[in-house]
């Protein structure tokens, strides 16, 4: 299961907020949005690598989750269920963009702007040159991820960032276990080629 940001001790459990949301309490849903917006935004951002679009898609995921709440039976963690919705929203967007593709115009539109500092979790204070090296390395990694196909990028995000098992990835995509492994294999090979000098130096 994707590792959820479990409520802190003293916080209202997810399922309580879900029950209240299902009863029409949008304030309860707002607490769920606050609790998981960072995770969902990170996932959409890693997939499409555009801050503005990722913001929109993350919103869309929460809107769709609200609409689908009556059908959520609480047989899984809320975040797991929410993640699947966000994944489908993101993947649908990528697929439709590809179908509608306007050639060069599309490329210009998707050339991502990396807002400095906006996308990384807060870090401890780095020395200036180290901070710069980190920023440069982060940019290279995001660029490398951008060079993967959507299918390959998707499995890397699910496995390396979300920690999903092969079975969970296969169920979410959906595809066979063999396809999951094959895509992970080739995605990692590609990233190794693109980033070998960076992570080996960092190690």
């Amino acid at each position: 299961m994707p590792v959820s940001s479990a409520p802190e001790p003293g916080e209202v459990p997810d399922h309580d907020l879900v029950r209240r949301s299902q009863a029409g309490d949008s304030r309860a849903f707002d607490l769920l949005v606050t609790r998981y917006r960072g995770r969902i935004y990170a996932m959409t951002y890693h997939m499409i690598q555009n801050e503005t679009e990722a913001w929109d898609l993350a919103q869309e995921a929460f809107i769709k989750a609200w609409r689908a709440l009556p059908r959520f039976k609480m047989d899984s963690a809320f975040y797991t269920w929410l993640y699947r919705i966000a994944h489908n929203v993101t993947y649908d967007w990528l697929r439709k963009k590809r179908i509608q593709g306007d050639g060069e115009f599309d490329d210009e539109r998707t050339e991502h702007r990396v807002a400095a500092g906006a996308e990384t979790a807060p870090r401890g204070a780095d020395a200036p040159d180290e901070a710069l090296r980190n920023a440069e390395l982060g940019g290279r990694i995001r660029a490398a991820m951008g060079q993967l196909s959507e299918d390959h990028r998707q499995v890397i995000v699910m496995r390396e960032i979300e920690g999903l098992s092969y079975e969970e990835i296969a169920a979410a995509v959906p595809c066979s276990l063999g396809t999951v492994m094959s895509r992970l294999f080739y995605a990692r090979k590609k990233l190794q080629e693109l980033l070998k000098d960076t992570y080996e130096n960092a190690a």
């Binding site: 009863a23 304030r27 935004y41 913001w55 919103q59």
Partner: protein, 202 residues
Amino acid sequence: MKTPPEDTELLRWLDDEMTPLERERFAARLTVEPALRREAESLQALRRTLREHLPQEMAVPHADFFNSQIQVRLAREVPARRGSGPSWLAYLRLPRLAAAAALVLLAVLVLRPDSGVDSRVLATYTPDPEVHATTHFSEAAGATVLLLDGLEEMPAERPLVGFRQGAADQQLFSVHQQNAGSAPPATAKDETATLTANASRE
């Protein structure tokens, strides 16, 4: 194309998909196969780097607005659900979100009440804090006007390339080329505007 069998094992070991017995056997292989060990270490280093620079959670830009936009859309799209929970209106008692919702509603109040005939702008948001959006309905123009103040001027030397695109024929051609000297050709399907022919765009 299938993953080669030896790479399948490495993959499963890396991803903790092996049984304890399989892990033990693979660990034994790593001690006697230096090439395999190097590859395993390389993949582990790649993973560490990816996880360090692709965070699981990211700060959402304009997080308050993110939430308030969702609430506005929920209120517009979904009728109130039956249930014992408090209504959406009670939500306005939350100070921060009440302020955000009030801003949105203020935009609505500034405009005419919805006549059901005219277009209207319900809410605006400008990502650049230097840019400010104001809206009004112009009776004389019979149009809703959205003004953006604080925008950076487009450089005068930059030529703007206009298109003429119609859903019918999907023809795409540049009307104002850099060195254009003639008006665009009229076609049989061309029912659109006569564009102002201006020879020089430079």
